[in-house]
Symmetry: C2
């Protein structure tokens, strides 16, 4: 795409109403727009990045055997009353609204109730199990505080997968596969080395659940990391008993700030019992389905990448999620440079490269500052100098290294 046609502009100054680095950078680079506190629109560069993250997560969910659906935000109270989660005293982040006839509705902040209820029409026998169902769908959460940019928002797309199994063993087996898929996702988006599978409390059904925590000074969570073993524990389970159970030594744990980028949870039969989601086993016994839930917020992940992978000049996207792979920059307005840059642009596009072509009539310094801020992996410069040399300057955004290659 030609940057002269892109409707978003970069900004030099940080927006005054943002304190979080991720929001400052993403707003300045034209990736997102703040609608109100904790509510952000995605602009073309941000949406492309978000969709790449979603694409990676989707691939891994399909590889797990997941089937994709798209549930609704509007929810009637009944199902949530059955599970005990309708009351604002129990769940203090509801957004509620009303139909014209004054019937109260809620905007879903999660979908265990809705999906367990839907699955009652689809599951009756052991032959129908196991099943794995996921979606990318907007969640609404009425957060009291929303000052962390994309790290804690009131409206956000979430990938939530729910597993439906016959037995605890079947759940445990899938749960382990899901954990592996999550590790793969964080690796693929470039956060593998700083993201720890973290033991957290498991609720009434299981001793542990797991969070995936990315080390980051901007994180709201504190975790205790054994770097050698690549494992961490959450504060709520940091007891001598748990440590000995996990074969961890207190002296090897370092307290770190982290962002929760994913979580997986064995729900057991809590929601299936509340909502009557049962199946008949091979002996004809009626038993509650055993459930698990598995969440990742692609927007929070994008915000985390903006926090963790950026430098003082701007964003630094890994290839896998970058909105474009190459930032092609023409310097000066000579016809020869324009013609050569146009040609390289056409050639790269023809090869299937995703190119942002800065064809704007601006000074070199402004173009370089914009390129650093937007943070595409490779920068190619076409100028009188490169024309004369017959070489192209290719700079790697992450390492800062420049190499010279023959004209493409």
């Amino acid at each position: 795409m030609r940057q002269s046609e892109l409707f978003t502009k970069t900004r030099r100054e940080n927006p005054q109403d943002e304190v979080a680095k991720n929001a400052q950078l993403l707003v300045r680079a034209g990736f997102i727009h703040k609608e109100l506190a904790g509510v952000y629109s995605y602009l073309p560069l941000g949406l492309k990045t978000l969709n790449k993250i979603i694409g990676i997560i989707r691939e891994e969910m399909l590889a797990l055997g997941g089937q994709e659906v798209f549930l609704t935000s509007l929810q009637e109270p009944e199902k949530w009353q059955k599970s005990g989660r309708w009351s604002d005293e129990v769940v203090d982040i509801w957004f509620k609204t009303k139909l014209g006839n004054e019937t109260e509705l809620g905007l879903a902040n999660t979908h265990e109730e809705a999906l367990a209820s839907l699955m009652k029409e689809q599951i009756s026998s052991y032959k129908d199990l196991p099943k794995y169902v996921f979606q990318f769908q907007t969640k609404f959460r009425n957060e009291k505080r929303a000052k962390s940019g994309l790290l804690r928002t009131r409206e956000f797309i979430m990938k939530d997968l729910y597993s439906f199994s016959k037995t605890e063993e079947e759940l445990a087996n899938f749960y382990d596969h899901a954990a592996q898929a999550y590790e793969k996702i964080f690796k693929r988006v470039g956060l593998g080395e700083v993201t720890y599978k973290t033991f957290a409390s498991g609720g009434s059904f299981s001793q542990f659940s797991h969070e995936f925590q990315t080390l980051c000074e901007a994180g709201e969570d504190l975790i205790y990391v054994d770097e050698g073993k690549g494992v961490a524990v959450n504060k709520e389970v940091l007891t001598d008993e748990v440590l000995s159970q996990l074969n961890l030594d207190k002296d090897n744990l370092k307290e770190k700030k982290a962002i929760e980028v994913g979580n997986i949870f064995k729900l057991g039969t809590k929601y299936s019992e509340a909502l009557g989601l049962n199946y008949k086993n091979e002996s004809g016994e009626v038993l509650p389905v055993v459930m698990g839930s598995y969440g990742i917020g692609p927007g929070r992940l994008l915000g985390t990448m903006a926090e963790v992978l950026s430098d003082d000049k701007g964003l630094v996207w890994p290839e896998a999620v970058s909105p474009f792979q190459v930032h092609l920059i023409s310097l000066g307005q000579s016809e020869a440079v324009k013609a050569e840059a146009d040609k390289i642009y056409a050639d790269l596009v023809k090869k299937g490269e995703e190119v942002l072509y800065d064809d704007r009539d601006l000074a070199a310094g402004e173009k370089f500052a914009d390129a650093d801020l937007i943070g595409l992996p490779k920068r190619i410069v076409v100028s009188e100098k490169t024309l004369a040399s017959g070489k192209l300057e290719v700079k790697d955004r992450a390492s800062g290294e420049t190499i010279y290659i023959d004209h493409v």
Copy 2:
């Protein structure tokens, strides 16, 4: 995909709480699930179909020069107060909610205000125009009645594009291109022959807006069609003056029921003036940006296709939007049939065909009834009979014609 793994099941009986044919068929075939009146979840087959429709619309919007964004549902009152659309007396389909601190918010039913406001940060000069911005995003509309299945819903994904132009001429030029893109979309999804560009009232800025109306007995609108000229008019503009202006003869018009599947509207400077979206022209004058809006509901389009293209046996999907292209059906449980069907499935998938493989242990009649209900374009049957003949039976869902081909 193997149908034995698909988590949705078909139903023989119409759901008791649905009166609209589209909802009856789509629920029975396992494409959608009713959450509450006018609020439907998409199940795997439905979501695949919806995503194909979205893919076609996206291609045409990108071809028009559109840039994709993703705006938010949560909205503060201020912008809408400026345009006069916050009050429930003016707009009677608001869903409203509240932040924890009692600040009232609305759930966007459209996005003129939000986008015009956002564009103030991006547009300042004539050099920034024209720009075309679109999204696929969930709209919330508090409809009083919601008995028409997917044709009128309270929560639905909408493609809304907004154009930002310097002058009325520039708007008119793009508006005509957009109208052509819309005609292309309806053609591509298989509704071209029954969809009419329909003159409707244009509001304060323009004499006409245009609707795209698909002829259908289930439609809520009445239009007056000149079949020969391929044009229609809406009741509200059916006057002698308009007819003579459009060179239409009252005697050639037939009254028809129709579903509004799209609309395009010249907004003029209504929202840009209300929200202060201005640009400087070449002489340095500050002028309001001239806007247009262009909407299609992919879900309503899907519902319309279920109404218009179905028959008494079930759904009939055109290739362009069908969730799978081929329904491969094995009959009987002989090992030879299974092995041959497995092989054909593997071969077709390898070729890149989208195949739903009915490998379930069910009677032929049930499998055929399900295939007719689900409505994939091609049905291939593998049975003892086809094995013996060395031929495969390929049936076209739309025409009902069967041909025999050599084994693939």
